[in-house]
Amino acid sequence: MSVMTPQPPASSPAIADQPAADSGIGGALPSGLGAAWMLAKREWVRFFRQRNRVISAVVQPLLFWLLFGTGLQGAFVGAGDQTFLEHFLPGTIALIVLFTAIFATISVIEDRREGFMQAVLVAPVGRWPVLAGKVLGGSAIAWVQAVLFLGLVYLFGAAPFSLSVIGVLVLLAVIAVSMCSLGMIVAWPMDSTQGFHAIMMLGLMPMWLLSGTFFPVPAFVGSISWGQMFLGGLMRANPLTYPIVELRRLLYPAIDFGATGFAPAPAICWAVSLGFMVFTTAVAWRLMRGSRRADLLS
């Protein structure tokens, strides 16, 4: 007779692997914040490891800006005698944010297809860190890219540098979070990236085009056509129009945009921008928390 009581097999204390106590994971509680931070950091790392994403997110809007800006320069005179290159600048910055946010959120579909998301969804942290990680990670990338571009803009004198840059930085963050949340709303129920691209081309690009980025919002003054009336109404109903108006104002504080076109007061622009951010994030959260149908998509 040797041993009478149950004993674990002899193993080195360094690699002993006994089950956790009843309290859970070695006494440490799963932290949603830690998980969200890690998921956000992962977005960041993945983004910079895929150079084609970095390049396409900056080079494409830059090309758009230079080509359209130069090509349409003679055919356009904006408020305060702005050239098209100047008029198109806020839209280009918004496009950088839009592209980067879209590619960041599209990764949700890849994560699900590649299996990574399954492991996240069965972790003891609930759903909100997934949303927070994706949105904050994607937004941070989009924000930094836009800020780098903005740095070049100021460096080459395409816009006058002033203290209003602080407002620009905050507004860019608000736009980035809104776009990432919007991307999550589109991406979460999707099972293919092709479906996402279809929605992007049909929904997100027109949303960008109709926000006063490419051409000014038609003013409802004098005799205007039904077409202009319809377009003007559509652009006023577009929540992205308001942060673009404010961005334009902050980039060129010396110009009075209200004198020649649609330019609601800063308070309205900020309220709509913030409201849109809260709305998209809330909808994304509700979508992720609700049906579990998407959990099993693969």
Binding site: P9, A16, A20, G34, A35, V45, A123, P124
Partner: protein, 313 residues
């Protein structure tokens, strides 16, 4: 006398009773009752569509319980989903690794999801990497690893938070024979240390390595026990006859040789402890009616066929 660790008389690690699950009109599980003891390797064996993946999803809390009762490590799945998640480690059939991250980074991600951080995380990460012989590959990007190594990283992720129960869905899928041996060695080590290992498989030889097996068919557990006890139910010998006229062969066996048989497609199966000695007389009587006659000990496939009356595929 040596009492092995873990004790097989300890409270069950998993209890399922009356578990039913539907996908729309289709009933995937039709009342599953199951008990898995602590520290054993338990295989859920079944062909495609038998309900084993649904059961795995329920145990791993990926889908909510519709009907019945499931307890994992003493925690009710319906009442405390997060509590269950803290006690289980999961290895999915499709890899859950981020291929753009290194082994270390993948494990750090998993650690954050389970509330491990700082020095405790680093120390635990070193332990599991060492234990699964991954220390020298920790800086490698997962997309550069072989299938076997990736599966080991999955195991490392699953056991990082010291789970009481490890759930694995078809863990051998895509692995070459040597990687399968490594995998099973790791699973056996886990079980030896008291972790309950529950895996789904459609591979008979894999289920044979488990301590206990539950065979699922059409959403039900049709039989449960150790592989040896299941085989023993069928007796020592099994004669399998392939014929183009299986009904005629069965009639001859019954009427002329007094042998009861079971027909499965073009095969006739006769169970008998005297199987080897019966073969010459069967061969002589059937002549050209039998295309082939083989004799052997029953396997788990034979258990499945005996219980369901159809082939395992």
């Amino acid at each position: 006398m040596i009492i092995p660790f873990p004790r097989k008389d300890s409270p069950p690690a998993i209890v399922c009773s009356g578990v039913r699950h539907r996908y729309g009109d289709r009933e995937a599980l039709c009342g599953v009752d199951l008990k898995v003891s602590e520290g054993e390797i338990f295989a859920l064996l079944g062909p495609n569509g038998s309900g084993k993946t649904t059961l795995f999803r329920l145990l791993s809390t990926l889908v909510p319980l519709q009907q019945g009762h499931i307890e994992v490590a003493g925690v009710d799945v319906a009442r405390d989903q997060l509590g269950v998640r803290r006690k289980i480690g999961i290895v999915f059939q499709s890899p859950s690794l981020d291929k753009k991250l290194t082994v270390d980074e993948n494990i750090a991600c998993q650690a954050a999801l389970y509330g491990l951080s700082g020095a405790a995380m680093k120390s635990r990460r070193d332990q599991v990497l060492e234990r699964l012989k991954l220390t020298d590959r920790r800086g490698d990007f997962c997309e550069t690893l072989s299938g076997g190594l990736r599966r080991r990283v999955e195991l490392a992720k699953g056991m990082l938070h010291r789970p009481r129960v490890m759930l694995l869905d078809e863990p051998s899928t895509g692995l070459d024979p040597s990687a399968r041996i490594d995998l099973w060695q790791s699973l056996r080590e886990m079980a030896d240390e008291g972790i309950t290992v529950v895996l789904t498989t459609h591979l008979l030889e894999e289920a044979d390595k488990a301590d206990r097996v539950a065979i699922l068919a059409d959403g039900r557990v049709i039989v449960e026990g150790t592989p040896d006890s299941l085989r023993a139910e069928l007796g020592e010998g099994l004669i399998t006859i392939t014929s183009s006229d299986p009904t005629g062969v069965a009639t001859i066996l019954r009427d002329e040789l007094g042998l009861e048989s079971q027909q499965v497609a073009r095969q006739i199966r006769v169970r008998s402890p005297q199987a080897p000695t019966l073969v010459p007389s069967i061969a002589e009587r059937l002549g050209d009616k039998a295309q082939s006659i083989s004799v052997g000990r029953p396997g788990l496939e034979d258990v499945f066929i005996a219980k369901t009356g159809h082939e395992f595929d």
